[in-house]
Amino acid sequence: MNASNFPWLSLLLLIPLAGTFLVALAPRDDALLKRLGLIVSLAAFGVSLVVFTRFQVGVSGFQLIESLPWVKDWGITYSLGIDGISLFLVLLTTFLFPICFLASGRVDKRVKEYVVALLLTEWALIGVFLAIDLVLFYIFWEAVLVPMYLLIGIWGYERRIYATIKFFIYTLAGGLLMLVGIVTLHLAVRSHGGPVTFSVQTLLDAAPKLPFGTQAWIFTAFALAFAIKVPMFPFHTWLPDAHTEAPTMGSVILAGVLLKMGTYGFIRFAIPFFPHVAKAAAPYMMTFAVIGILYGAAVSAVQSDLKRLVAYSSVSHLGFVMLGLFAFTLQGGEGATLQMVNHGLSTGALFLLVGMLYERRHTRAIEEFGGIGAAAPLYSGIFLIVALASLGLPGLNGFVGEFLILIGAFGTNRLAAILGSGGVVGAAVYLLWAYQRTFNGPITRDENRTLKDLTAREKLVLAPMVGMMVLIGVWPHPFIERIGPSVAAVLARVGGR
């Protein structure tokens, strides 16, 4: 076998799965288990870097494709592939997991199960982004739920059971709708004389030829599933509960990668499969996106719990992503795809930071703090940088995505873009107000006087994240260059410019 057709994607998928078995067999030594998790996830990251180097710039379709027949009668295959849309989501996933393991130093409850759950989540997430067969995709999609359910339910905070059941049932309901959509799509294509297949590439040709009514129903099923996952207003209420009760790493993965399954689903399936329906739905989707941007910002601003505040900010940020996706312009689509990664970095980092604060003071209530900028200058400095990335300051990653999304949306829907720009002010309000109440002013509580600044390990956790924020912010070209052709191909189907 020569290097050019080596199954790198399968290897990437196999590593975390094999890692779970390795961890399951390892002795119950907490430090060893965590180190094993770190090594496995680092190995996956290494392989994903190989994938990155083998990825050809300028190609719009899937690359590094692998395909094996699975259930022949139904046309189900084991097919993996990667393109500009999924490339950075895979890299984001493999980038965040080592960081999570590195930051899991304080976890001491059922460590073996914890490491297994994290590795399984990583495996399923990579699968979601690599699968180019709908059945395979669905399996990974639902497979993410199980370890995530456990992560929140076992290692979470006080109301974790309520939160995790709500998360599970809500998103499972969405997933089942999608399953109905997938099967209906398969059968409809078949009954209209099309091929017997679940292959994404084949369906890209077949699906748009179905009658509009059929397409509309299937689009709706897909869209509901994805909208819940994003989560799009008004399907977002599971998110603040899940985030608030999830352990730090649960939140990081949830915000960092899991939510992107929804936005990814839109640009990978819902929009290119049903371009006519997507076009008809665009004004409504953009309306809900804008409501989400402003509503999320407003609700964030008045939260008294830091973690909840960050959770609601996700509603606002993902509203931006949705706005860009349904703008059907190159700037909007590419900006949205990049913004998925940006949000993963900045919100992931915010959750890590809030988690570090919680570990020190066992509270996340903003009123418990105040003035800690003096006690922990480095921590507060990093927090500020991440907050600025999140509120879209030029020079950091968030700005690139937001700018592209808004300028793209302005091309097709001026009002939505103008209203969405209000979210730029909103983000400054809720983040800087929270920052002021937490870090500025005099220290009001004695416990905060001796607050420890970042430890060496925490610096190691945060440095790569901040580094990526600066890199994308200062030089987005290498990212956009890879995202571009694939997004352009999707948009060409909806007549986007």
């Binding site: 008045v302 939260q303 030029p394 020079g395 300028i407 070209h477």
Partner: protein, 627 residues
């Protein structure tokens, strides 16, 4: 040799080094920052010389540093443009910036975050230079936002003080409201010409490929950004509060450089404003209204730094007046002389505060001219410059604007501007007299003393600039060659700047009357006359001293409803209505299953009854159907 890359790189390098390793350098952070600034300043001078050697008309060069991104028709590189306008701005920013850096090494002595101060200061200068050197609107906007960040960091430098932290946040958010308008303006321009490159847009505006409507919309939206950044009505409210920052910051950022960014933007985009005549008139009207309004507020302000803050707002109004009527050269000229004398005024105020142990109330000063002779001397020069006394710099620049307004036939604008100029002479004289003349009113245990050399020398240099800055642009009538205007004209367009001796005499007479009035009320002995004046004015005095209650009105009309709305969304809409519906649906399902569950009793006989009943019903149904 053109070194525009180095002008940018030096302060950036300084900022990066100091942010990363400042703590290790300790006291020498100040030296590092000053060295970075010196390099930038020298590079700016060398580049300026190089530019002057190029024949007039071809003085505009473009540098492509690296590709930033390309999406569809949107191509953006990190590109610099070095032309007379950016040359003048970079020379001013680096020059004044260097002096204020040096002054700060004395002023900030002993501050525990000394190194961080200089890191932010360097970062600020980098951002400001990016703003004036950017060749496309995106990087102009990036510099625009980054100076906003530095302003935030430096206003809130002493963040332990709640007032400083609040002021910092207020500044950032208020200016961001304007910035969002500017961002939308950028979208409008891109949608129209598919490029964000400034020369391209300006050419399109000049040759009419932008429609007048689009140009007006874009010009007004860009001006929104200028209104925020340059603290004009209605977004000026952040600037007086910004005085919570260390005084060198007020001098550099909130007087000499950052706040002039709005003026720079309007001047830079002047072909757009020429096309959008209505928008240009809006600029002029807002400018002159702000000039008068802020000057009135300054007349009743008792805090020395806040007087200067209102004065800055007012002077920026004059610059917008000039830019609005097309006197771009005069506006830039005033921008530069203002940078000299206003930063000097702030440094002088800082020196006074330094000598009085941080005192800012004019009521507790008085008679300082003996204790602080140097400070008094430089403040006197600055006073002459801002009041418009010949031969100080402000005389030439402000009168150039007013002459253009008059020559353009804008009588109403001229009258309002003249009244504003009169108020300016009054409040500035009032400040000078209250601080340096009359009886000594400082508190017990305060021993005024002159400031160290590191502070006095930069002030002295700025004082010289305030006196002779007018030479940059001596009007042709006075045997000058209007050199700055001639230098800038290819970029900013030639204005209608007829020399009008009448205008000069009117402006002079007004200033003289106002100064004498201020002398009569404030310069003598105690403050009894002031009390009499206050009593006479009654409610007017109260209204002005309370700043027309604008902050309170904003808080009630804008902030409170928004807050209420957000609380409603979070507390009622989100928790009760939306989440309530979700949980309600779940409850419904589980209730329904309760009912169905009861049917499953586990007793065979009840199932048998059910089956029997069902079968009977089926039979009945079939019988009925077939009948």
């Amino acid at each position: 040799m053109n070194l525009s890359w180095l002008i940018l790189a030096a302060p950036l390098a300084g900022a990066v080094v100091l942010l990363g390793y400042g703590k290790r350098f300790g006291r020498s952070s100040g030296v590092i920052a000053c060295v970075a600034m010196s390099v930038a300043f020298v590079a700016a001078l060398i580049s300026m010389r190089w530019l002057l050697a190029v024949p007039n008309g071809g003085r505009s060069v473009h540098f492509h540093l690296f590709e930033w991104l390309a999406v569809g028709r949107l191509h953006l590189g990190v590109d610099l443009r070095y032309d007379p306008l950016s040359a003048a701005m970079t020379a001013m920013v680096t020059g004044v910036g260097l002096l204020i850096h040096i002054y700060s090494t004395g002023y900030m002595e002993g501050d525990p975050r000394f190194h961080r101060f200089f890191a932010y200061l360097n970062l600020f200068v980098f951002s400001m230079l990016l703003l004036v050197l950017a060749d496309n609107l995106l990087f102009l906007y990036a510099g625009w936002e980054l100076v906003g960040l530095c302003s935030y960091l430096l206003i809130g430098f002493w963040f332990e003080r709640p007032a400083a932290a609040t002021a910092a946040k207020k500044a950032f958010i208020t200016t961001r409201i304007g910035d969002t308008g500017m961002l939308i303006g950028i979208f409008v321009l891109f949608a129209s010409v598919h490029s964000l490159y400034i020369p391209f847009i300006n050419r399109a505006a000049a040759d009419g490929s932008i429609t007048k409507t689009t140009a007006t919309a874009a010009a007004l939206l860009l001006f929104m950004g200028a209104v925020g950044k340059s603290a004009q009505i209605p977004l000026y409210v952040w600037l007086p509060d910004a005085m919570e920052g260390p005084t060198p910051v007020s001098a550099l950022i909130h007087a000499a450089t950052m706040v002039t960014a709005g003026v720079y933007l309007v001047v830079r985009m002047n072909p757009l404003y020429q096309l959008a005549h209505a928008a240009a008139m809006v600029v002029a009207v807002i400018g002159v209204a702000t000039a008068l309004y802020a000057a009135i507020l300054a007349m009743a302000e008792d805090d020395i730094k806040r007087v200067l803050a209102y004065s800055t707002i007012s002077q920026l109004g004059f610059m917008f007046l000039g830019a609005g009527v097309g006197a771009n050269g005069a506006a830039v000229f005033h921008l530069i002389t203002h940078a000299f004398f206003k930063s000097l005024l702030f440094l002088g105020a800082g020196s006074v505060m330094h000598g009085l142990g941080g005192e800012t109330a004019l009521d507790r000063m008085g008679g300082l001219r003996k204790a602080m002779p140097w400070t008094f001397a430089v403040m006197f020069c600055a006073w002459g410059a801002i009041t418009g006394v010949l031969p100080f710099a402000g005389f030439f620049s402000k009168d150039a604007i007013m002459a253009s307004v008059w020559a353009g036939g804008h009588t109403a604008l001229f009258v309002v501007g003249a009244i504003a100029a009169m108020c300016t002479a009054f409040y500035m004289s009032r400040l000078l007299f209250l601080a340096f003349f009359g009886r000594e009113r400082w508190s017990e245990g305060v021993h005024p003393h002159e400031s160290p050399k590191s502070m006095v020398i930069p002030m002295a240099i700025l004082a010289v600039a305030s006196i002779f800055g007018g030479l940059l642009n001596l009007p042709e009538g006075l045997k000058g060659a209007a050199r700055l205007s001639g230098f800038l004209d290819p970029i900013v367009g030639k204005a209608n700047e007829k020399e009008a001796l009448g205008v000069v005499l009117v402006m002079w007479a007004l200033a003289a009357v106002a100064t004498l009035g201020a002398w009569f009320i404030y310069a003598t002995g105690d403050l009894r006359r002031r009390e009499t004046v206050r009593a006479r004015l009654g409610p007017v005095n109260t209204l002005v001293r309370q700043k027309f209650f604008v902050d309170e009105i904003y808080a009630t009309v804008i902030v409170a409803p928004l807050r209420l709305g957000a609380s409603f969304c979070a507390g009622v809409l989100d928790r009760r209505v939306i989440d309530g519906a979700v949980n309600g649906a779940a409850t419904l399902v589980s209730r329904a299953s309760e009912v169905w569950r009861k049917l499953q009793t586990g007793f065979v006989r009840s199932y048998a009854v059910g089956i029997l009943g069902g079968a009977a019903l089926l039979v009945l149904y079939v019988v009925v159907r077939t009948r």
